[in-house]
């Protein structure tokens, strides 16, 4: 059972649709008492960094999520903005992130060619930087591509925590991992068989 965290930021329906399609049970939850019992956590997110952290705190989810991810070490996957929240801080705002993985969230603005549009939106390919359980069978595909929509990207502090990289003007970390904590910048729920494979891998941990 995968517990999808609902803090009013993001498109939870399509994530749950994909889990249903691949035969994995999932539940959408915003109650900290119920999240206490989660065995696997998915942290979604669309919107701005500060707003997301603010909502998480308002809904009393900050402590319980820290407890689950760091102390209990349940497998936790952050996607899109949910991945950026795993980092130390973001140039998008002033509020600190969860700081579960040493990394920074940085802006594409002024770091890539001016003729490249921001947000980075569309399908792009990923390449493996370090092996991970959630990308274990990616070599079965000729090319692995995912759907991205983001204006900020993650730069990891220690190279070993990068599991996938993508180029858009510059190379950034499109998936990261530290122990039981995973992050994916792209939208697996909108990326056909590639997203399904990643979700299945996560569900099977």
């Amino acid at each position: 059972m995968i517990t999808i965290i609902d803090y009013e930021m993001g498109n939870l329906g399509s994530i749950q649709n994909m889990f249903k399609y691949i035969g994995v049970e999932s539940t959408i939850e915003s109650d900290p008492d119920k999240i206490k019992n989660a065995s696997k956590i998915l942290l979604p997110g669309v919107g701005s960094f500060d707003m997301a952290m603010k909502k998480i705190k308002e809904k009393n989810l900050y402590e319980v999520l820290n407890e689950k991810a760091l102390k209990e070490q349940v497998p936790t996957l952050g996607i899109c903005l949910g991945m950026q929240l795993l980092t130390t801080q973001s140039e998008e705002g002033t509020v600190d992130g969860f700081d579960w993985i040493p990394a920074k969230t940085m802006s594409f603005k002024n770091r890539i060619d001016a003729d490249l549009k921001i947000p980075h939106m569309g399908w792009n390919i990923v390449s493996q930087s370090n092996k991970s359980i959630i990308t274990k069978n990616f070599q079965d595909f000729d090319e692995v591509r995912f759907y991205f929509v983001h204006s900020y990207f993650v730069k990891i502090e220690h190279e070993k925590n990068s599991i996938l990289k993508t180029k858009y003007g510059i190379e950034f970390d499109s998936a990261i991992q530290k122990d039981n904590i995973f992050g994916a910048q792209f939208h697996p729920e909108k990326s056909h068989k590639f997203g399904m494979t990643l979700f299945e891998n996560f569900a099977r941990i």
Binding site: N11, G13, S14, N17, M18, K20, Y21, V46, G47, K117, P119, H120, M121, G122, W123, N124, I125, R145, Y147, V149, K167, Y168, H187, E189, K190, S191, H192, K193, G195, M196
Partner: protein, 254 residues
């Protein structure tokens, strides 16, 4: 490298998919859910659904169909058709679509785009403009699926939509729509030259060379396709299909 998106643009009429020619002749294509299942298997980049009667006849948005579609589709989805408020947009996003397309209801009310873009981000709003050459040879914008003539000119209106917060523009040539003759690259280029946001070409795609041509000659970021992905060939029967990815890439890079 970021791939140029090729987006099947599917037209809803009541609970059916139809295909038009120059915004007329409503030919039945099939059941939307069955059709999207095929596109899902073909792993298309993105799908766009336009309810072409919604604003024309001021009908309510058919949320049930959108829900059925979202349950089957694991790709980016956009919907257009009589979106009147932030509340409508919220419902569509909750269902699992990530973009909404606004055309008719923006005329005289750019606030609609502003509001939705502020709440959900610019990337979630596609501004749509339908263009037609009139009997007198003048280029005019039309709303309500070709029913209502508007006075704004193309480039000015495109810029206004961008300023209001649209993250992308869908530019449709009514004259080319359903024609298989290729995109109106001059028309598209005038828009890409004057806005900073991505432009989706629409109307006229008949083969993959047309797609490559639009990207090279008019610098569009994406191409919407209709007839060529729902018919076997021009004048032939319904066959839901999608161009071979390798051939498409060759055409785009050629």
């Amino acid at each position: 490298m970021l791939r140029t998106r090729v987006i099947p643009c599917l037209l809803l009429k009541d609970a059916s998919l139809v295909k038009t020619v120059k915004f007329k002749e409503y030919n039945y294509i099939g059941d939307p859910v069955n059709t999207v299942r095929i596109f899902n298997e073909l792993e298309v980049d993105e799908l766009m659904f336009l309810d072409i009667f919604a604003s024309k006849e001021n009908r309510k948005i058919n949320f049930n169909i959108l829900r059925d579609i979202a349950n089957e589709c694991f790709m980016p989805l956009s919907y257009g058709g009589n979106i009147k408020s932030l509340e409508d947009a919220k419902k569509i996003f909750e269902i699992g679509f990530e973009k909404i397309v606004i055309n008719s209801n923006a005329f005289g009310n750019l606030k609609l785009i502003e509001e939705i873009a502020q709440y959900f981000g610019n990337q979630s709003v596609v501004g749509s403009i339908d263009v037609k050459t009139t009997f007198w040879g003048k280029e005019k914008l039309f709303s309500h699926h070709g029913k209502r003539k508007q006075s704004d000119d193309l480039v000015t209106w495109a810029k206004k939509m961008e300023d209001a917060g649209a993250g992308e523009l869908l530019i449709t040539s009514i004259d080319r729509e359903g024609s298989w003759d290729g995109y109106d690259t001059d028309l598209l280029k005038r828009v890409t030259d004057s806005v900073g946001i991505p432009v989706i070409a629409n109307g006229g795609a008949g083969n993959i060379d047309h797609i490559g041509e639009a990207v090279r000659e008019s610098n569009v970021s994406a191409c919407a396709v209709g007839s060529m992905v729902v018919y076997q060939k021009k004048g032939m029967g319904v066959l839901v299909n999608f161009p071979d990815r390798k051939k498409l890439e060759r055409s785009l890079n050629g």
